[in-house]
């Protein structure tokens, strides 16, 4: 690798005298980050809307995704109100809802159709417009090129196109709330034939939106993989890459290969809805009346196969970047190398591969056959092994470390047990026999929310607090950060823990009345109804959810307040080793003041004999690196 040092072209030695004449770059004055804006004014549109700089695009993705997540949270609060108080007008914003949405929210009451739309859109927004763009696109865009020592992404204009496709897809999804008939109502999974028979064009909007979002992540995935393969700095060998980069690398492959089948399925469902084909409509399909006009002959199961072929890798798209972020933060705050770097890397690959052959464990109830179910049950159990390896490495990294507790570390530490709960409660769902009982109950909701909400989203918060100083040169407020963490931590658990109990008692998900019609109070004398204490939990969850929503206020204020008023910090406030902290702050266009030459692994913390307890990847001096690459033993 050392031999390419001369062939690495993008950096020039510092030439401050010429910097002003340089019309497409400002490599010459990297440390002077305040001055560089004045040299050439690209204008508002050029710098913020049509920027090709990976850092700007990362922040664009981040802010957009956070806004969508807030919107998704808001939908969730409305749904929780309806579940706890079915048929009661929504307080405070009920009249507003009626004004905006009209008939479906008549008298401020959420109608079952509107509830279904909120449910479908909550899932879609949180997964495709919130977590994936934030975890993969925002952090990936901002951090990956910095971590590998690249000046930008390989294809900066494709990067911009990717964001624009994402934004357009988001707008299409958002617009569908306001069309006659309302947004898609068939769940985020959009099972056919349900999705083709609900009388609303919202489904077509959903599909067009999805095609745009898929295009966006496809372009992003190509860009990420090409960047990691092609633009690693001299000396940045594969096994010197930080774990976060590996996680993003595998995630990009999942997006690249798993999303297109859903795009194919989406096109076919769009044909079903718009051109009246029958890809997913069986013969003799009748919906509340005579048999429809469709030719029939289609296969509803085909949709589920194609959907979950994306859907399951998608779970790992949500979780792998989160694991990457947590890995970085744990290594940094335990002040010692992350435990088992090599096993982490290999496990990520095994997870990525296996995630393509577990999809039908979402379909045990479809009657696809025992033999198929047995196969997928086996692969599902096998995929838990590398996941546990990753989590175990993170836990072991804590052992014997002088742990620094700060807000990013709090969230990272919160991630570990929360993801653990989410993962372990998934085992009964992966086994066909127990899944038959738990399928489509609140148990499932609790399980995957533990993985994604206090799991992934905590890791994402950790990432925001962790990289905020690199983006702005200021730290976010630590006190309000810990308030945000502890409140979120408590209320997340209060929201989701009771759902396990509700699910085990048989409360089905997707019921707009929160199970009232199956409650012991409504149908006395019938066995196996939902007992009163289980129904009561609905109100408690509502209170906890409202508090969870309020707990995000400190974060929002902290985020914007700290941009101008946070504690000023230097280039490397966390005393980290990786390349993202060896740049000026905020990194200028082109990122590095001088070309980085990587000489050691990513986590050289507390090297014996070193002057400081961290040795950056570019640092030649100091004690000899005990091993050429981490885990090369």
């Amino acid at each position: 690798m050392e031999s390419n040092v001369e062939q690495f072209p993008p950096y020039r030695p510092e030439e401050p005298a010429h910097a002003a004449h340089d019309d497409h770059g400002d490599h010459g004055h990297g440390h002077d980050s305040h001055g560089h804006e004045e040299h050439h004014q690209p204008g508002f549109w050029q710098s913020f809307i049509f920027s090709t700089d990976h850092k700007v695009i990362g922040i664009q993705y981040g802010l957009t995704a956070l806004s969508f997540m807030l919107f998704g949270l808001f939908l969730m609060l409305l749904m929780r109100w309806q579940i706890a108080h079915p048929g009661v007008p929504v307080p405070v914003i009920g009249p507003l809802l009626e004004k905006i949405l009209g008939q479906p929210a008549a008298h401020g009451i959420i109608s079952p159709e509107l509830y279904n739309a909120f449910g479908a859109m909550h899932g879609t927004i949180m997964v495709f417009l919130g977590v994936v763009p934030l975890a993969f696109a925002a952090f990936g865009n901002y951090v990956v090129p910095l971590m590998i020592g690249a000046p930008d992404m390989t294809f900066p204009r494709i990067n911009m196109a990717s964001f624009h496709a994402f934004l357009l897809g988001g707008l299409v999804m958002f617009t569908s709330f306001f069309i006659p008939g309302g947004a898609a109502q068939a769940g985020w999974t959009s099972y056919s034939p349900l999705a083709s028979t609900i009388p609303t064009d919202g489904q077509a909007f959903w599909l067009v939106g999805m095609v745009l979002l898929i295009t966006s992540s496809l372009l992003g995935a190509v860009n990420f993989i090409a960047t990691i393969i092609q633009l690693r700095a001299p000396g940045m060998t594969w096994m010197r890459m930080p774990f976060f980069v590996w996680a993003q690398f595998v995630t990009a492959f999942l997006l690249l290969l798993a999303f297109p089948p859903l795009e194919a399925a989406g096109l076919m469902q769009l044909m079903d809805n718009v051109a009246h084909t029958s890809f997913f409509l069986p013969t003799g399909l009748a919906v509340s009346g005579p048999v429809g006009q469709a030719s029939g002959g289609g296969s509803p199961l085909l949709w589920q196969h194609l959907f979950w072929f994306l859907g399951h890798p998608e779970v790992y798209v949500l979780i792998l970047p989160a694991m990457g972020i947590v890995g970085e933060i744990i290594a940094n705050n335990t002040r010692k190398p992350i435990w088992g770097y090599k096993s982490l890397v290999y496990s990520v690959f095994v997870v990525g591969f296996l995630s393509f052959i577990v999809w039908a464990h979402h379909m045990y109830m479809t009657g696809m056959g025992q033999k198929i179910a047995t196969f997928f049950q086996a692969t599902t159990m096998i995929i838990s092994i590398p996941s546990v390896v990753i989590l175990t490495c993170m836990f072991l990294s804590l052992w014997g470390g002088a742990i620094r507790i700060n807000t990013p570390m709090l969230f990272a530490l919160g991630f570990l047990p929360m993801f653990g709960i989410g993962g372990l409660t998934g085992l009964p769902l992966g086994l066909a026999a127990s899944d038959l009982y738990l399928h489509d109950t609140y148990y499932v909701i609790a399980h995957f929310h533990y993985v994604v909400a206090p799991g992934t989203i905590f890791a994402l918060f950790a990432g925001v607090y962790f990289w905020f100083p690199k983006m702005t040169g200021r730290k976010m407020n630590e006190f309000w950060g810990s308030v945000h963490f502890w409140c979120s931590f408590v209320f997340m658990n209060l929201v989701f823990m009771p759902m396990f109990a509700q699910g085990i008692k048989g409360m089905l998900r997707r019921m707009s009345d929160g199970g009232v019609n199956y409650s012991a109070a409504r149908v006395p004398g019938v066995t196996d109804t939902l007992p009163g204490n289980i129904m009561e939990l609905n109100s408690w969850i509502l209170y906890a959810a409202i508090c969870l929503g309020l707990a995000q206020i400190p974060f929002i204020i902290n985020l914007f307040w700290s941009i101008k008023h946070g504690e000023k910090v230097g280039d490397n406030p966390w005393e980290a080793t990786t390349l993202d902290w060896q740049t000026p702050t905020p990194p200028p266009h082109g990122n590095f003041a001088t070309e980085p030459h990587v000489v050691r692994g990513p986590y050289d913390y507390s090297l014996p004999g070193a002057p400081r307890d961290f040795t950056p990847q570019t640092e030649r001096s100091g004690p000899a690196n005990p091993q050429p690459a981490p885990g090369a033993h």
Binding site: P10, F155, V222, Q230, L257, H276, S295, S299, L306
Partner: protein, 257 residues
């Protein structure tokens, strides 16, 4: 700031950026068409006995189109080779051939679509089915060039009936229960046929536009940066070969089986 390895190969990976990008993109395209092909398999396997069409598409047109695309693959390769040996005139000629071949392909494909569009299956009140190409229609009657069958299955396996007798049929409107053309809505075969070939035709169209751009306005880069231009021809050529390859699968799957 400039991005490294846009033109030159990176020494340790031995490849330039755009080539990595296009191969990754093609991998996702394989999955896209793979999804549709697996849909084809599921639909065909799930079709009731005797109700999957055979011989609905004209093999002659399919063969000609296969030859056109195979030739265009050769001209694409030769255009790239001409760039490599820095012979701009030859490049212009070969890629002009590619564009003409692609347009011919699209022309034949549109004719085939039109042929299905005017092909009607008409259910009559006496339980028989009239089937054939629409010639004219007015308020009173429908004129088709076709035949009348009593069993629906006779319409499906055309290969078992090599010499069909088609005549001009005048059908009174009052006798018609339902009249439907062979559009995507007709049955699952036409649905997957139009979706697969339609998506493929869109790829052909997109590829042709890119090649046309590189052949016309985009070829200015030849004067400033011939090496980068050659790379562009290579990358667009890779895409073109992939699109050809998809057709190599589509032809037997849809026309020959």
């Amino acid at each position: 700031m400039e991005i490294p390895y846009t033109v030159k190969n990176r020494p340790d990976t031995g490849i330039y950026n755009a080539k990595v990008g296009i191969w990754l993109f093609l991998a996702s395209e394989v999955m896209l068409f793979g999804g549709l092909f697996s849909a084809y398999v599921m639909l065909r396997v799930g079709a009731p006995e005797g109700l999957w069409p055979h011989g609905w598409l004209d093999v002659r047109f399919g063969t000609v189109n296969t030859i056109l695309l195979a030739l265009s693959a050769i001209t694409t390769l030769l255009a790239w080779a001409a760039c490599k040996v820095r012979d701009f005139g030859k490049f212009k000629f070969f890629h002009a051939c590619t564009i003409v071949l692609a347009l011919a392909f699209l022309g034949i494909k549109s004719y085939e679509y039109h042929d299905k569009w005017i092909h009607y299956e008409i259910q009559l009140k006496d339980g028989t089915i009239a089937d054939g190409h629409l010639e004219e229609q007015d308020d009173k009657e429908v004129v088709i060039h076709g035949r009348i069958v009593t069993d629906k299955k006779d319409l499906y396996d055309l290969r078992a009936q090599p010499d069909l007798k088609l005549t001009e049929l005048h059908i009174d409107r009052s006798k018609i229960v339902k009249m439907q053309n062979y559009g995507p809505w007709h049955n699952t075969f036409t649905a997957i046929y139009f979706t697969l070939t339609g998506l493929h035709a869109l790829h052909i169209l997109g590829g042709t536009l890119v090649i046309f751009y590189l052949w016309g306005p985009g070829s200015k880069m030849w004067k400033t940066d011939p090496e980068r231009f050659t790379n562009r021809i290579e990358v667009s050529g890779l895409f073109w070969h992939f699109v050809d390859l998809v057709w190599i699968f589509l032809f037997p799957v849809l026309y020959l089986t």
